[in-house]
Amino acid sequence: MSNDTRQFGDLATQLVMESRRSTQTDSLLKYNDSLVRALIREQRDLEKAAEALEAGMDELQAYHSHRVERLRDLYWAVGGALPHILNNQDIRSKLSPHEVDYLRQYNSFVMEFRSEFSHELDITASITNPPKDLNVLVHVVKNCGVIQTELGSIDFQKGQRFMVRRADIEHLIVQGYLEEVS
């Protein structure tokens, strides 16, 4: 390829040199048909190579765009609990290193935005069901240890039931540690 480009450079320079010679000798030289044709051939070859570069670009973009959307959906589905996604080997093994980086950066942006008004509203809280009651009865499915709540610190051990403030433990329900008892 570099051979060709050098040749291309040479051909083009040759044409320009002819024009200069013509000016310097104040004479009209013969039309250099073969040189012109060679240059046009070179141009066409380069154009084809450029086209090949562009092909498949749309499909690549569609694939990545789709994946990124799924990652974002996954992120919001767990209420922005990034460790929950990255520590899950099932999911982690399906991500490329770039996707992991993407998730980390996305998470830091969301957290930064969220912190601006977190005293008023928690944007990572679940909105699937409108709030009905202040408190909720939960059943512990997986140990989550001691959690700070409005009513004090509670040690959530598997199999136990607690009546707690919904806002405090909503994220634990979303991640599967607690189960709401109707």
Binding site: E69, R72, D73, W76, A77, I123, S126, I127, T128, N129, P130, P131
Partner: protein, 186 residues
């Protein structure tokens, strides 16, 4: 995106219920409460036995804790609903009902059935009303066109029910119309 899948097609009935509970309703308080400020405005003071108007969500909360009685709205009565049902059956077009009657009646029947007369009859009337109106919606499917849909007196839940389908169908009709007219031009 951040919106959960289950909320993407349309608003859900629980959400419509939440919106409906912002409406004011009359209660007979059983305890006294001072004037309190909420995000949506200040309510109170509540001075038993004087009636007061408060948002439905607050009334439900008080009722569940047995701190008030709810005064049933005028339209939640056998007479009113029966006359509307008769109109529904005998006239074309939809009868005029409170916009959020389905949500409010559901919530009140759940929580305050002791404050309402003839709850069984009312439940059955509401069911008949819903069925009659639903049947009319289905008939109206014939008249769907690509341009606009103009129906009077549809209520909140009914609109929400038909919206996804109608919007999608009208989109397809527009698409077909465009194809047909470009073919004519060719």
């Amino acid at each position: 995106m951040s919106l959960p899948y289950s909320l993407r097609t349309s608003i859900t009935p629980p959400e419509l219920e939440l919106i409906a509970t912002q409406q004011l309703i009359e209660i007979i308080p059983l305890i006294a409460i001072e004037k309190t400020a909420f995000i949506s405005g200040a309510f109170g003071p509540l001075q038993p036995p004087r009636k007061a108007k408060i948002p439905l969500w607050m009334a439900i909360n008080l009722k569940l804790r047995k701190k008030c009685h709810i005064v049933a709205p005028e339209w939640l009565s056998v007479e009113f609903l029966q006359s509307r049902l008769d109109e529904e059956i005998n006239e074309p077009g939809f009868s005029k009902l409170p916009f959020r009657y389905a949500e409010i009646s559901k919530v009140l029947l759940d929580v305050a059935s002791d404050d309402i007369q003839n709850t069984d009859k009312i439940r059955s009337l509401l069911k008949d009303l819903r069925e009659a109106r639903q049947a009319k919606s289905r008939e109206g499917l014939d008249q769907i066109n690509r341009g606009e849909l103009s129906v009077s007196n549809l209520c909140s839940m009914e609109i929400n029910e038909i919206r996804p389908f109608f919007v999608h169908a009208m989109g397809i009709l527009t698409h077909l119309h465009r194809e047909a007219s470009t073919e004519d031009q060719l």
